[in-house]
Amino acid sequence: MDPALSTDVPTGRAVAYIFDGLTRFTPDAKVVPGLAKSWDVSPDGITYTFHLRSGVKFHDGSLFAAKNIVSTFQRVLDPKTKGGRGWPLYPIKGAEDFAAGKGQTITGLAAPNDTTVVITLKEPFAIFPKLLAMPVTSIVPNNPSADLGQKPIGTGPWKFVEWRHDDFLRFAKNPDYFDGPPKTDSLMARIIPEMSTATAEFEAGNVDILSVPDEAGKSWEADPEKKKLLTSAPALRFWYVAINVTRGPLSDVRVRQALNYAVDVSTILSAVMAGRGSVAAGVVPPTLGGADPSRKGYSHDVAKAKQLLAAAGHPNGIDVELWAATTDQSPRLSQAIQANLAEAGIRAKIVQRDASSVREAARKGASDLYVKEWWADYPDAENFLFPLLYSKNKGPGGNVSFYSNPKFDALIDQAHREQDESKRNALYTQADQLEFNDAPIVYLFFYKDVYAVQPWIHGFTVPAVFSGQRWTDVTISK
């Protein structure tokens, strides 16, 4: 639970309970002030001045001040931390050099007094405050002990009490929390790897809130008693098939469009995913600015797919490898996709490996097609368009389609600099349309999170970003 080392979703959740960043997410994915009560941006979009809250205390009693921001960001970027997740801070001037071991300080980061932090960026980056709400940029005390990951100390609404590894995490309310203490006294996160067991714990009444596994979704929806307990919301999670545009016939846009026409997404969504989600047309989720609700997705049209393949010079179809991990819904999705593709004459061989192996192969460019899911780190269209499709992010950066389109890149660059939100969203829409036509992806669906909530729990809302639910408004009547 060391913010600087948090790369996965469960860690990020726990970090968000204990720590605060300069900004934070609400469950419905708004960015609101955190440790900074407000901020100003210079007209050129380069300099951010954050005005900090005063009198905020860490759980160990020490006083939070601007210098904590400086030391925290240095710690995240410091090669000695061995974190490797400094990219949210890279927009800051000198941050990348510092991370590479060049330079004693981060040149673009200064704390002129206890309640002010001035951040100078390399170039304008209008959504920068959103990145400061990510778990990795959470503020830690000065000179934290080497054991911070085991005994975390933050300023957040919950104080860390106990971590029984692979069993549970326990937190107690921070009565002094600057935004008002949580409404319950304690919070416990059970760590249950087997979803059937987690479901059993909920049914036995031992667990108050459960993220309902896909497998259980259908039978719960069908049971009127259980259906009453379900609550859901669109998540910023995108299921898609990355098409490696550099490999063989896949470099032809007609072949990639044929793949999209061949896959019957709405049937797969209802049959495999219990209808949890909405069919995607582009990579920007409908809940975010920049999404174009009028855009129609590729329909399920086998004849059209065959026609496009023939036009591309493959009247007898093509052979591709479809890579999928052994976890989550990947195996079932890949089988359904394989069957759909076969109807259009696309012979897909499924290559199923553990998640780590598949990821490594895809990042090296060794996969043709790769069924995968993307979880947003922050609620912005940029968090989909940029990592998944920007040319510099090919491979480990997230662009496993190896898509490269200078026009697309230029639109994203322009959006990065654009300070006006509606203009920025218009640029996102254009970029999304552009890549949608190029089809470097088989657009599947945006996932919908479903939670089961016991009748005695009130005030829970499903968060759009995983770190957006901090349980401060939840109450219990039992």
Binding site: L5, K82, R164, D167, P193, T197, S356, G398
Partner: protein, 306 residues
């Protein structure tokens, strides 16, 4: 006896070294990249290259191996790539829980398995024998995973007698121990029965009965004692099964033991954690084999080690 133990322990060293080499090579050739697991879904090539260098993953295989082995010889199993915690601390924290689960399963299996086996052998072909045979077949055939889920469904969700999962007092232990031990109960019952049938036909049993001993004494003191050798063999072999079976059982019942630790380490390619745990489990395995051999001598005075 003492010389025997020392010799066996010395012989364990090349075995463990072999384990070290095999695990190291396997992880080296296995696909998947630990650094990419550390940095998460979005990373830049520079960071990846830097971390690879810091962890010596860019060194030649032999160099990496000597670095690691050197650490192990000094008692340093390295730190987890993911949490940066010393592996030895992780193992120390989790192994007692796995041992508790495996030990309870073993105890349960021996008591139930041997009892069923002995009772079955008393009247071969009788109703208890046939019932025991049926149950044993079921026990051997059902996979741990399935047994575990059914136990949770029946005893935790429907009857609400026991908690479905987690770690705590004895009530948390019952279901996982039973799930883990179920196969062994069946196995032991079969072995005990056939060993007892062999022995019960022996002359010394007739002698024992002839000199007027009570049936109980005949069966337990004379027959069972002589039937123990195959039973001990099975128990010793099964211990390895308990350690591997605990991986599944611990996952189903959210038991925070070493089995789950290894699984997590494998999925995240946490190399030091995998190597350390496998090596540690190998040590345990070697020790259990030694104990099994010593138990032979205890059970059968004709077996003597020098």
């Amino acid at each position: 006896m003492f010389a025997f133990i020392v010799r066996r322990l010395l012989l364990a060293i090349p075995t463990l070294f072999g384990v070290l080499v095999v695990v190291f090579l396997l992880l080296y050739v296995a696909p998947g990249d630990p650094v990419q697991e550390m940095v998460g879904e979005r990373a830049d090539p520079e960071t990846i290259a830097r971390l690879r260098k810091e962890l010596h993953l860019d060194e030649p295989l032999l160099k990496q191996f000597t670095l690691y082995t050197g650490g192990v010889l000094r008692g340093d199993f390295g730190n987890s790539y993911i949490t940066q915690r010393p592996i030895i601390r992780d193992i120390r924290e989790r192994f007692p829980k796995t041992l508790l689960l495996a030990g309870s399963a073993m105890l349960l299996a021996s008591v139930l398995g041997i009892t069923i086996g002995v009772l079955s052998s008393r009247h071969p072909g009788g109703w208890f024998d046939r019932l025991g045979l049926g149950v044993a077949y079921l026990g051997i055939s059902f996979p741990v995973y399935w047994v575990g889920l059914i136990l949770i469904l029946v005893f935790a969700v429907m009857l609400r007698w026991l908690p479905p999962s987690g770690y705590g007092g004895i009530k948390y232990l019952i279901l996982p121990a039973f799930a883990l031990g179920s196969r062994s109960i069946a196995f032991l019952a079969r072995i005990t029965r056939s060993a007892m049938l062999d022995v019960l036909g022996g002359d010394f049993v007739r002698t024992a009965r002839a000199k007027g001993l009570r049936e109980r004494a005949v069966v337990i003191r004379h027959a069972l004692r002589n039937a123990l050798i195959p039973i001990i063999t099975v128990l010793g072999l099964d211990f390895g099964y308990y350690l591997t079976g605990s991986i599944l059982t611990e996952t189903i019942f959210s038991w925070p033991g070493l089995g789950r630790y290894v699984v997590n380490a494998i999925t995240r390619r946490d190399l030091p954690a995998i190597q350390g745990s496998v090596l540690f489990l190998s040590v345990i395995f070697v020790l259990v084999n030694l104990l099994t051999d010593l138990a032979y001598a205890k059970a059968d005075p004709r077996v003597a080690y020098s």
